[in-house]
Symmetry: C2
Subunit: 332 residues, 2 copies
DNA sequence: GATTTTTTTGGCAGCGCTACCAATTTCGTG
DNA sequence: CACGAAATTGGTAGCGCTGCCAAAAAAATC
């Protein structure tokens, strides 16, 4: 028994084997158009016998209708994006779409290059994070004619479709909550905001509401690099060294907030008695800590699901605000 | 100014505009074959002017050499897989390869279906987790002729390429470490092992060394569902309710271990005085907790990098063991 | 039973590009 | 300046499939 290596079985061979025409095989396989039950069985038998695997590359080229969906995401380290991919991939798989991705490291220039590379695959849609793109990216996407989905933000003008929630509102609501709780001397610990513009929008919203509430931000510590638990710990340490009398700290996200929380645990700083901690994202881990983290839970998986849904149903241009949920927790 | 929507510029149009033949444009664009500097400039100018984006679908079909790499991974919730993707995607991008993925939810049957769907894109390689695949998956992959990379495990027979580390050895080494530290009454808290076979291998290795060391596993708590911090917390709670006199607990991974750690913090159980905790993965968060988590750090990103490297260099079949590192931490 | 209608089918021209080969131009040498 | 070698080019046949159209077969109608 010889092993036929790389024996690429083609549709034509299946047609021969089944004793029908190529287009008939194509119709049966896609369950599109009409054919008799008898020929369907004959075709399927031949497919089975030959181990035929349709070539989607050829199919896509011929039909000029792609079922690829391209994700251009800032990071895979920040759990936000795997969550979005998870939600989207479930929906896409059900609809026989295929997800393709690349990672920009929060670099708009890289985003442009990667978006260009993606467009070369003629995807049905390109899924991006947020609204901040280079002029070149926008121009290219517009010219491509494929659907564009901007995810995880709704504060801005959408190119086509947008799914997410308002980061500005999240920041404002966090501030309002802390003010209501009676905190007056608040600080902020965050990561590089110039790259993560959504974190920047939260911070801006937070400061705005604090100022309006008569308790403007007392101090802040911005760390270079990505958000991480360790950076959160370090950031809070530095912030408190400089401004020890803070009564609450807002973190750029839960990773950072957990770092801050651990710092307090390690130093024996009573939470929230002496210092309140507030995060963003609503990670599961924040619910399992000795004191549940006060934070805002964002619909990350749902964002991916809805984004994918809009694409597969070819929905008209629109902005879908999925909202978020404030979790009181026990750290504020 | 009319907006040409969906104005798919083709290579032929670029050739016309530049006043050269199609093959010349193709050669220039791929920087392959010879052409004069003058024609290159002319071609590039035309490309620029028309906003030409090569169609990789067509290119792939014509060359029958794909630059797609298909990832069929169990999960995106378990940070392990985003980490692997991250390492791989960096290398793939550099080499103008494109990553495609789908998620199996640890279901071998789904893996088979998704692998089949992937092969339809005629990828250069299929990247899978571990060695446990259905017969159908194996047959299909073998027949496809594309490269196969089994990642995150080296305990078994590789189909083609394998990159990772020994889960069995990780379990054994964890046990040896705890024995050396003097723990004698040990327990285990894990998630569904029938699905996550690599966690199963660690557990088996762990038990083996414990038995050899004369201190066989005292009790275990296996939770249904995926690993999570909350499940770790819950698992330890149940385990201790049943067997309060344990002196150390091995967790299926760091997520679970952190849950256990938080449980001890909440209950005031001294660590490691009364109970030692040992994890697996070496997540960053485990280093920022008040007491750094004792665990084994696995080269997840490197696994992705090396896997991608082997594919782009078309390396001969081989198994690459990247090893792992035991981190003593302060919880054991 | 003849004719119309409906359902199934096969043929074939591309989809946009690459690979191969032959034609053309340029260059180097004697 | 002639001539072979080397460097550039263009033409064109597919890659494997889908979409369109016309042909054939089956079913329905009178």
């Amino acid at each position: 028994m010889e092993l036929k290596h790389q024996a690429t079985v083609t549709l034509a061979e299946v047609a021969d084997a089944a004793g029908v025409g190529e287009s008939t095989v194509s119709r049966v396989l896609r369950n599109h158009g009409s054919f008799s039950g008898k020929t369907r069985d004959r075709v399927m038998a031949a497919v089975e016998r030959l181990g035929y695997v349709p070539n989607r590359i050829a199919g896509t080229l011929a039909s000029t209708a792609s079922r690829l969906v391209a994700f251009v995401i800032p990071s895979l380290s920040n759990i936000v994006f795997p969550d979005v991919l998870r939600g989207a991939s479930a929906v896409l798989e059900e609809n026989r779409y295929q997800a393709v991705f690349s990672v920009t490291d929060y670099d708009p220039t890289k985003e442009e290059a990667l978006a260009a590379a993606m467009l070369a695959w003629r995807p049905a849609a390109v899924m991006l994070a947020g609204y901040e793109h280079t002029e070149g990216t926008v121009k290219m996407l517009r010219a491509s004619g494929c659907r564009i989905v901007e995810m995880l933000d709704v504060d801005g003008d959408a190119l086509d479709l947008a799914v997410g929630f308002s980061n500005g509102a999240a920041g404002r609501e966090s501030a309002a909550f802390l003010l209501k709780r009676g905190y007056r001397r608040m600080g902020y610990v965050g990561h590089d905001l110039t790259r993560d513009t959504r974190a920047g929008k939260r911070f801006a919203g937070f400061c705005e509401t604090l100022a309006t509430g008569g308790a403007p931000l007392a101090d802040r510590e911005i760390l270079a690099g990505a958000s991480s638990v360790e950076n959160g710990r370090l950031g809070l340490e530095r912030l408190l060294a400089r401004t020890p009398d803070l009564d609450a700290v807002y973190f750029s996200n839960d990773d950072m907030a957990l770092g801050g929380y651990f710092h307090c645990l390690a130093r024996g700083i009573p939470i929230p008695g002496q210092l309140a901690i507030f995060g963003y994202n609503g990670l599961d881990i924040g619910r399992a800590t000795p004191q549940p983290l006060s934070t805002i839970r964002t619909p990350r998986v749902a964002t991916g699901q809805v984004a994918a849904q809009l694409v597969v149903t070819n929905a008209p241009p629109q902005v879908v605000d999925l909202g978020f949920e404030l979790i009181e927790g026990a750290t504020a």
